[in-house]
């Protein structure tokens, strides 16, 4: 082969690769630009925003944030989202770690039956239970408040995926773990708390991320259960500024930013861990 056609081939390859990068970059911009724009627009002066919504800001103005935070319970919604998501994560871990330990590491006849029973939840959409669930929980809502009552469906809803991920991880730990622990004189509680849980932390991390974001972003149950402004979570707070007569865009975009920035920060910090956590249910690992 002559050197000239070699050069042509290399040039062609480089061109192809360059073209691919340009396309990949275009797609990346189409993802990033709207998100960056949302945050940018929310700190612009509202009048300037309406004159040229897609332009760059010339000044920074936090007045809209002050307004939604103070007058529309958005600060309250942020706090509600944080507490409800955190409590769900903690309670769900307590239930699923104990159950997974008994299913994956202890020896009894019906462990696989119980596991199969819990995993049926992976197939059942929440929609098919929401009507009776709400009707039976009305007295509970009246007794303990909607913010506490909603934890029941949230925690129960996270159990199938949590038990699935944690129990399959615990099963992958070698049998010699127990043997060594018992030779060292561990009892069952120490085995659970000091050995199996610390060894299962990667699975715990995945489940924590998955459940936290799931509840943080959940809309339908919240819509049915949380009817009062003061008890609502962020996805509901986002909708306060749209109505029959159109949408108050500056307020909406500021609230979207308040809801989205924590997710994005978490993502920037955790990256691979978060991707793994969110896909752990679909791709074992």
């Amino acid at each position: 082969m002559s050197s000239r056609s070699n050069i042509a081939a290399i040039a062609f390859l480089k061109l192809k690769r360059g073209l691919a990068v340009v396309l990949l970059m275009g797609l990346a911009i189409s993802v990033l630009y709207p998100l960056a724009w949302t945050v940018m627009s929310s700190i612009r002066n509202p009048q300037e925003f309406f004159l040229n919504p897609w332009g760059l800001p010339t000044s920074i103005n936090f007045s809209v944030y002050k307004k939604v935070w103070n007058e529309f319970y958005v600060g309250r919604a942020l706090l509600n989202s944080l507490t409800i998501a955190s409590l769900t994560v903690i309670l769900s871990l307590a239930f699923s770690l104990t159950a997974s330990f008994a299913i994956a590491r202890m020896r009894w006849r019906f462990s696989n039956v119980v596991l199969a029973f819990l995993l049926t939840g992976l197939m059942i959409p929440g929609h098919s239970t929401i009507i009776p669930l709400y009707l039976t929980l009305i007295p509970v809502i009246e007794a303990v408040g909607a913010k506490n009552a909603i934890l029941i469906p949230y925690v129960a809803g996270t159990l199938p995926i949590s038990v699935f991920i944690i129990s399959s991880y615990m099963r992958s730990l070698p049998n010699s773990v127990e043997e060594a622990a018992i030779i060292d004189g561990c009892n069952i509680r120490q085995l659970f708390f000091r050995i199996i849980i610390p060894m299962s932390l990667p699975a715990v991390a995945s489940v924590t991320i998955f459940n936290f974001l799931g509840v943080w972003n959940e809309l339908m149950l919240a819509l049915v259960f949380l009817t009062k402004n003061a008890e609502q979570t962020l996805p509901l707070a986002l909708l306060r500024f749209s109505g029959r007569f159109g949408t108050q865009w500056s307020e909406t975009l500021a609230t979207v930013s308040i809801a989205v920035i924590p997710s994005i920060l978490l993502y920037v910090i955790l990256q691979e861990k978060l991707i793994k956590g969110m896909t752990a249910g679909s791709v074992k690992g």
Partner: protein, 294 residues
Amino acid sequence: MQKMLSNKWVILAFVAPAVLLYAMVVPYPLLKSIQYSFYRWNIIGTAQFVGFQNYVRIFTSDYVFTTALKNTALFTIGSIVLQIPLAFILAVSLTKVTRLNKFFKSVYFLPCTISGAAVSLLWQFIYHPNMGIINAVLKSLGLGGWARTWLAEPDFALWAVVISISWQWFGYHMVIFLTSLSTISPEIFEAAEVDGATGWKKVWYITYPLMKPFIKISMILITTSSIKAFDNVYVLTGEGPANSSTVLALHMYNRAFLQLQYGYGAALAVILLILCVVLSGVLNKVFGTKNAEY
């Protein structure tokens, strides 16, 4: 050790809380839903057994249900067509582009971490007739005649949702495919190159068959989540204009929680459940259990 690990009381104490909570919140209300679906129950306290009447009404005289069923099917197909080929091509390309692949992967996955409500509001602005960027770009390209009030077009509203949902989730499926690609050993490709396979031929004859089980996972995920789709439709179009973009979950929500027809809503919920289970089963069968091996 045997004794300690098969202590009945410890097992009971560890398993019972999760099983009881789950049983009370998922299987029990599910059975209740099935029961309610045979009742006419419009206002609390006046439930009346009506046999299959709710189902008969749904299939014979509920035109919104017919639209919802058709839309759910289009929603599923549209989401699959927009996401899976794109995710596949991106995953394959990212294994070749080495320098920026981490950056691209992170960016494409980013929207998955955001709530459907937030994404839908963002897209509501993108589609906005006066201020939205789509019409602005069309006008700047001299195609102002193509500008529309997108979300008010009965023929487009559903697709508006499908586009926004695909924008949000294509990165998720790309990550599934990237994970599966990382399990294919490079030797297989080397062997194929020796046999004369190059470029996209390699992709078609080797990568695709090996990735089939993962494509199946993505198909099932997209199908079930399309049947369950609620957030994005509720926020972006609110089933409008004139029910044209309604979907099953939204129809159920409206009937049960706005019109307070609990029995009728429960019947819709049962249909939704059956669709989810049956379609995941069908997809599992269609894609077979035979996975390619080399």
